[in-house]
């Protein structure tokens, strides 16, 4: 970026705008991709992709994980170069060599994982990499003014002096959007933007996107959530196995059609399950208190029971103690008080190998964050297929690990769970999100545990795999096992759970029947408004007070 003294436009904006207006007549499309091809060794990630993105529209790109969406966008953003094909920006062909080049052409990207410096202020993050002066002062002043203008123009209010780690995930995402706008982006690519957002934060985001579109920006939205496509996009393109299978006007299509295009077969978007037949209590949590790493009490005296043959869902906005609850019940985190009983026997989960003892007692755990917790992504697939069970007699005698047996078992499960690619020697990092989740699920279900604890089972997982994962969970329930499900996706909880507990501020504030509770009622409880539900919540509150 060259230095400039003007304060209105950002450095990148001025020259490019001129180019845009002269070429605007030539094309109604902001972005045109023609016959894009990209191979990674034997994998044909993008084949003959054509894509036209109309200026001033929100254009959704859907497809299962591994369909080639991210590769395509990485080509557009300059992370990869296409093997063949043409990219036209505002009608002018360009060979985009890196992300700086893409930015100069007015293409900005908001990544799924934010690229922010946690202990910098919002303002500092915005100018990071485009400080145009050796002294920060002038850059910060200019950026502050520009940020105010952008905030005003696009309804993107933020406190420029707030520190990133202190603000919510939704705000962090706004900062990412502001970063792109500050760098002069006219075309914004958002990669799975709602994966980390609460429903209300997602609604906020959509409001912002609409404003941006109405102000003339072009937005490309990569997602696999069909509800979002229907809610926000004007056009939608569907990718499958590296090819572009359709581009439709959103108002002329429906989720069923999109799902079928994505997967290539009919998909059931609703979970089909019969009535639950709850038996005896398998998991009993009594007055559980859990503190986080900083010593803050996050779970404040929670009691509940899960019976064999039922799925109990815990709903709530992320950060209300669900994570600590899961980690504690599964033995990863010490309890500060209370008991966890499995089929009547108290579990001793203290110490840093508590999870080992929990597993031995028949409690399996599919963690919220598979990449950070449930898998060692640097390991080969078969190594992850035994994580937590590496001392199982099936995998060797004494101290020695029977690698052959472990690989054979991994191969069996790859076939059983249709994990792709079907190669147990492949590094786990190279599997897609859905397949990684299948690896975890297969491992945790393998030993037929009495209790299965599942956190965010379908976060970042594609439609085809979601159906499979939900069916597996229901199959376990029908086999008489107890399942504790935690998810921030209310839809998932409502369709999967037989009973819903709502968690707010470390406590269970209410119980609801998924068949009768409305989204509004649940939403109120999730927000901590419990007056109306006081009678339902009182038994829990009473046990909590007794401590």
């Amino acid at each position: 970026m060259t230095s400039t003294t003007q304060t209105g436009d950002t450095p990148a904006q001025r020259p490019r705008k001129a180019a845009a207006s002269s070429a605007a007549a030539a094309s109604e499309f902001a972005i045109e991709l023609e016959k894009i091809n990209k191979r990674f060794g034997p994998v044909h990630a993008n084949r003959d992709i054509d894509l036209n993105v109309r200026r001033g529209s929100v254009h959704g790109i859907v497809g299962e994980n591994g369909a080639g969406k991210s590769t395509l966008m990485s080509i557009l953003y300059g992370f990869y170069t296409a093997d063949s094909g043409e990219i036209r920006v505002d009608g002018v062909p360009h060979r985009i060599t890196d992300s700086r080049h893409a930015l100069a052409l007015g293409i900005g990207m908001v990544h799924q994982h934010f690229m922010l410096v946690d202990n910098f202020s919002i303002l500092e993050n915005v100018i990071l990499g485009v400080e145009d002066n050796a002294l920060l002062g002038p850059s910060l002043e200019r950026a502050r003014k520009e940020l105010e203008r952008l905030a005003h123009e696009y309804n993107l209010e933020v406190d420029p002096d707030a520190i990133i780690e202190d603000v919510s995930v939704g705000t962090q995402q706004r900062v990412e959007i502001l970063k792109a706008l500050y760098r002069g982006a006219d075309v914004l690519i958002l990669d799975e933007p709602t994966g980390v957002l609460t429903p209300s934060e997602a609604d906020d985001l959509f409001r912002v996107l609409r404003v941006l579109r109405d102000e003339g920006k072009t937005i490309i939205l990569i997602t696999h959530k069909l509800r979002e496509i229907m809610a926000i996009t004007d056009y939608v393109s569907v990718m499958r196995q590296g090819a572009m299978v359709a581009t439709l006007e959103t108002r002329n299509t429906d989720p069923e059609e999109l799902a079928e295009l994505m997967v290539g077969r009919r998909v059931l978007l609703r979970v089909e399950k019969g009535p639950a037949h709850p038996g005896e209590v398998f998991l009993a949590v009594d007055n559980l208190v859990v503190k986080d790493d900083l010593g803050v009490t996050r779970v404040k005296g929670v009691s509940f029971a899960v019976r064999g043959g039922e799925i109990v869902g815990i709903a709530g906005v992320a950060g209300n103690g669900q994570t600590e609850l899961l980690e504690s019940v599964s033995g990863m985190r010490d309890q500060a008080g209370g008991t966890v009983r499995l089929k009547g026997t108290p579990l001793s989960l203290e110490g840093d190998d508590g999870a080992h003892r929990a597993r031995k007692s028949g409690l399996a755990h599919v963690p919220e964050d598979r990449q950070r917790m449930g898998l060692v992504v640097a390991f080969e697939e078969w190594e992850n297929a035994i994580l937590g069970y590496e001392d199982d007699p099936a995998y060797g005698k004494g101290m020695i690990l029977d690698i052959k047996a472990a690989r054979e078992a991994a191969r069996r499960r790859i076939a059983e769970f249709d994990i792709r690619p079907a190669n147990e020697r492949l590094k786990t990092a190279s599997f897609s999100g859905g397949n990684q989740q299948k690896i975890v699920l297969a491992r945790e279900m393998e030993r037929n545990p009495d209790v299965l604890i599942v956190g965010q089972p379908t976060r970042g997982v594609d439609i085809g795999a979601i159906e499979f994962i939900h069916n597996q969970i229901i199959k376990m329930r029908d086999a008489g096992k107890a399942i504790l499900l935690v998810s921030v996706e209310l839809d998932e909880i409502r369709s999967l759970a037989d009973r819903i507990l709502v968690m707010f501020d470390g406590q269970i504030v209410g119980e609801a029947d998924p068949a009768t509770a409305t989204e509004g009622e649940l939403g109120l409880m999730m927000a901590g408004v419990t007056d109306r539900k006081a009678t339902v919540a009182s038994p829990v509150a009473a046990t909590g007070a007794a401590s």
Partner: protein, 367 residues
Amino acid sequence: MSALRPLPRWADILLLPLINLVLAFVVSGLVVLAIGQNPLAALEAIVGGAFGNGYNIGYTLYYSTNFIFTGLAVAVAAHAGLFNIGGNGQAYIAGLGVILVVLPLQFLPWWVTFPIAVVAGAAVGGLWAFIPGWLQAKRGSHVVITTIMFNFIAAAIMVYMVVNVLKPAGVLAPESAMIAAEGRMPKFGTFIPWFKNTDVNFTLLLALACLVGAYVLIWHTRFGYQMRALGHNPTASTYAGISNSRTIMIVMTLSGALAGMVAVNQIVGVQYRLVLDYVADAGFVGIAVALMGRNHPVGILFAALLFGALYQGGNELQYVIPGLSKEMVVVIQALVILFTGAMEGMFRPGLQRAFMLFGGSAARREA
């Protein structure tokens, strides 16, 4: 950038270190040239000094023995995500254990005292690494800080012990009493005259056994699996129910025990007594050896041989070319450590690009 793909295994393990090594030699050559000497003659002197005859090879292998131990010590810890830079102190203080069991048993045959010395060296070296391991596991003190501080503590203790406790009355040099001839392990030269009276001894076989043992431990045992899980992702290992604190303490103890084997080589195999500073920084060379050997026993074997050759060849260099002082040798060794150790990843992106160009066209041909 994210587009770069990892190198094929052989390129990672062989080609990259080779490029680094060649570059280190080229820069060393320029330094030699700058002080008015012939670089090719110097290279010839180093290679000849390291591998010229049985005598040279014997000493090269002797140095390599130490570097295998210290390299393995660093590598084993590295697989669990621990950076043990206290190999020097662990190797040093292990000598205390070795000399304290060997001196009382010095009239027994060497093949009786040798295993006892191994156990004693491993125990004391292991203990010296266990303490930092315990501090990290239980108190959160980082091993990088504690192990390097323990190097200084070890040095101070050893000076005190040698000067005030172990030094026999009437001896001026700061060293312990000599082991009786019966307790001394014969050097290879005793059986294979070709090696002459060089310092290479049976401890080399122990080092080779440790290489095999480390390979089995890391990749073929349940514990090795657990420590690698910890090394790659401590959250996942907690999730798996692996006790991270226990694993850290065991791995550090193993690491220190391996470093402690240097004491066995030096005291039972070479010096027959405890002298000051016998480790001669082998612990630090071990870091470079492990880095260059990519923490793999096979890589460590080759890297240890290389550094052994450099030490021995470098020692010879000053006799062959009088213009190159001992300090010059240190400069060359430092350059090799710099290029193969500290900057070992410098050429990786370039090499990856080269491979992608080549690999890409190969993939197109297949299609």
